[in-house]
Symmetry: C2
Subunit: 662 residues, 2 copies
Amino acid sequence: MNVQTQIDTGAEALMASAIRVLSMDAVQAANSGHPGMPMGMADVAAVLYNRFLSVDPTLPNWPDRDRFVLSAGHGSMLIYAINHMLGYADMDMDQVRNFRQHGYRTAGHPEYGHADGIETTTGPLGQGITTAVGMALAERMHNARFGDDLVDHYTYVIAGDGCLMEGISHEAIDMAGHMRLGRMIVLWDDNEITIDGSTALSTSTDQKARFAASGWHVQAVDGHDREAVAKAIEAARADDRPSLIACKTVIGQGAPNKAGSHKVHGAPLGDEEIAATREALSWPHEAFTLPKEVYDAWGAVAARGKSAREAWEARHLGSAQAGAFNRSLAAPDTGALGKAIDAYKAKLSAEAPKVATRKASEMALEVVYDALPNLVGGSADLTGSNLTKTGAMEPMTRDNYGGQYIHYGIREHGMAAAMNGIALHGGFVTYGGTFLVFADYCRPAIRLSALMGLPVTYVFTHDSIGLGEDGPTHQPVEHLASLRAMPNINIVRPADVVETAEAWEIAAGATGTPTLMALSRQGLPCLRTEHTSDNLTAKGAYVLREAEGGRDVTLIATGSEVEIAMKAADLLAEGGVKAAVVSAPCFELFAAQDEAYRAAVLGTAPRVGVEAAVEQSWAPMLGENSAFVGMSSFGASAPAGALYKHFGITAEAVADAAKSLI
Amino acid sequence: MNVQTQIDTGAEALMASAIRVLSMDAVQAANSGHPGMPMGMADVAAVLYNRFLSVDPTLPNWPDRDRFVLSAGHGSMLIYAINHMLGYADMDMDQVRNFRQHGYRTAGHPEYGHADGIETTTGPLGQGITTAVGMALAERMHNARFGDDLVDHYTYVIAGDGCLMEGISHEAIDMAGHMRLGRMIVLWDDNEITIDGSTALSTSTDQKARFAASGWHVQAVDGHDREAVAKAIEAARADDRPSLIACKTVIGQGAPNKAGSHKVHGAPLGDEEIAATREALSWPHEAFTLPKEVYDAWGAVAARGKSAREAWEARHLGSAQAGAFNRSLAAPDTGALGKAIDAYKAKLSAEAPKVATRKASEMALEVVYDALPNLVGGSADLTGSNLTKTGAMEPMTRDNYGGQYIHYGIREHGMAAAMNGIALHGGFVTYGGTFLVFADYCRPAIRLSALMGLPVTYVFTHDSIGLGEDGPTHQPVEHLASLRAMPNINIVRPADVVETAEAWEIAAGATGTPTLMALSRQGLPCLRTEHTSDNLTAKGAYVLREAEGGRDVTLIATGSEVEIAMKAADLLAEGGVKAAVVSAPCFELFAAQDEAYRAAVLGTAPRVGVEAAVEQSWAPMLGENSAFVGMSSFGASAPAGALYKHFGITAEAVADAAKSLI
């Protein structure tokens, strides 16, 4: 515990005023932004940083720092103002002055990676609080492995009414309560205002009772009474349950005429009200200039953080676990992983097992887990369907944070956001499973994985009409296309047991890109019976079967449809047509290959694409003289074989399409 | 109130047993499906139908019937068994026997439109309960307009643990409590089992306290004590709050060896256990044969429903409002709508206002609302940004169900599912707004709009980097492509005030297809200054500006980028290059035009596509000799003008791309 107990309340009041003034001035200069939240929560934030939060601006990523998540991301000026005053080197006053301008770090919403001290990208409401669950969980899991000396920090969240109205907040609250994440403390900006007006327009939930129902420690305070806020944070830290502190605040507090109204939520105050606020706060300083006392007060917070960091470094230096700890935070050991996967692939090619790629994923996970012992995974209540649990993994529970397998419950969105939090916290390689169709349920969090470049892995099974009887609500048709449209995510749909192993090598070794695997429910033959140490899946697409003596046609397929393309090539061969088959497990990785390679794989012959999904996203794989065999509607409920026949995704159809092109 | 009070409890027990036996036998025959839920909830369902629920199988869509929603859709055999025994003409025993087989109505999950008496498609968890909120809301809104004589029914929901763990359930519960939807009654199958095992693996929320926190009436009963269930439903009906009845059940009740285990959730019981269950239930009848007493008991329920329907018809016949009531339920009056829009368009073309298309939508809504007085709309707390409220609309509140405008709160997913429920209930033309990027938050419900073919309208504004400073978390880049990938939904991105009016004519007049509008934040010039009565937007794409003397190039753009294409055509003309400009507001409607029209619009000259989004989805609009000017990464935070320049989406870039093709 490294907490400030001797408080100069005058200085703390100045710290809060400085947040208010910088926020209103920056929003005014940008003529865009949200002054209401930073002004309303300035007192709470001043207390939190001044007395509790431990961060070191000179080493922003020190592993045992407290995490601060601004879930109400529209109030971004709060964190920019604070980080400027704390002395983060990349947040000088020029940044604040150019809030929301091109080329500056002070983006409209806080963006991870754009500036130090931003722990996660927020803005889409409810993501911050749920990502924080993942951080707080990672803290406990890391602590279980390395002890209090190396891992002992808090996760603080500022959330607004919007965060708590979003559905994902239910998943967050239930998870945190169930996992008993006592070091997660949520400061709710209870200002009773949303964009449309009073919260009474749209909600009458008793949030305090709601959090209590999920096992949280709950308190309520006047958010402008700094001593009361401090006491509540102290009590929250002492309780072993996650804590909600409902901070009753006035939005835009400090602005004498506009505070308390939704008009101060997302618009500049205007020159007149800004002058009146300066008057009311007794703040004589010009815009973007701060008095020395303010920098001194915030500097003291930074100094406390620095000494905490130095004390931690001394403990780290003396720890027998320092090496293992460092390794857990480093990039995955792709050398060890690659060697293990190569040996495993050799065995697979020799034995050629026919298994569903979801089963192949389970088999590969055993290899990955051996090579990367900091692997933690889970499923949104589909463990036996996604096959995401290796034999050695123990369930992670509130009584055993040392467990490696997380039962996320029926909470796809919460799982995805929590995975982002685990990845942001560091210490683990992480993945989670559900059905591919439910990518829709967690899409906002997948998007943040991609936007932040987090190496999390989505293990999404039952990836087409091939799942059969569950019918169109469960059959992805548009999902591959919709996910391939997203920047910076690798969508990998392996065709067999070997490609699945290669997919796991890509996913588990990634550093700046999430991976989403689309895996079959149904069994698929091993097509890669000749061992190659090369990871062919990493090339995105490759020639699985060449047409001897030159191609008449090239058949290109992914996943479960590669088997169909191979059969079609056989049919064509019977009729004297020479067809090559290209397996294309990852369009994104193929697009990243050089043009010569791509041209050689795709060839100059007519092309037929085959995928049990809509054609959109296939354009780069096909050309002018091409055809596509796939879906153009939702699916149906019937056994898989009947569906493939009904929708015309068969070797015969592929062969016919090929012949019609020649 | 048309409720059964004289109960033959022996017959009711038989009714429940019959549900159990049909469910286990059908799942066994299919070798696929979920027997646990129908067997566990058989007693509750028997009581609900036998004593309370009012439906008439001879007129399944009678408007004042009670609505029954099986939110736990995997238990589909429950509703198929019941509807068979009630005598729905399309649900004979052959259907039950061929559960989950190709060509039968008994799909894996209940599908709206596949069989009578299925009020909504369920399966994706949490959708049913939230759709039911929309139904219950529509009932109250319809009642406010037509009175108790014509509209006076209940909405009953069976929900499982999965439904209540999904985030969307929070949005549902908060909305229903806030709107005080007292005629919504949720029967929670509290069996403490999920797919992975005990609910204790993943949740410790006190659901009863949670619902109470959102203003619900809450009771708990033994779900196998039929008298207790009946009393609870009576109390729920009497209370003016929405009601949760926690029904403690044993999953798979009736199966002597497997009941109570997650193994009975989603797998057949097996021949041996089926025999044991027959024994335990004293059920001597063969599979798919039922004794007369069972049909008699269920037939009595149907007869009670029929007489309720006949009594309603008598009231309807005598009602002065019968005509207006019928009109509210009929397809929208596209004649009146078309005339109003035509006159409005003439005015617009003459005045040529430069407005953002979100503003144009607000203007068009005034016209639509005049023509279709049963229009009800709303926004997920972005009313002033989406501009979704017409001047005359009053807020819908628990004290004024006669209002037309719904403050949905910060609940995009809940809004979309509730809109599905409003559309399914009937009586209203409905729409709802949020930012386009938050389509991700409600995608599972949008998918159900499309799958069910519901004519709801999504008014999604701030549709590109043109929103500016809010940055990449708020800037859609992949969303147009990801939505265009979905079957059966029209994605309309109008270019100006006239196309926006046309988009509203399409959306408000639709019957079997949802519409999603992508609207700009930024102002756009009126491009359609020459009036046409033809709805050119309904053609999907059309030549906005022809190149005199033959085209050198065709520029194709949507929405805010059509202005850029027009400027590019000017630039090209200066250099002597003849460019046509095609405005393409809706790819789906364009694909539905005949080939001659499409060929004429696209022409044979090289083509340049322009859209501030990723290229995916553009393939059908472009050809071999083409280029695309758009986005290939996430956006950034800066003023809109700076972003368009930074990402190279400018008239100059379009002109350069055109020249490089020629």
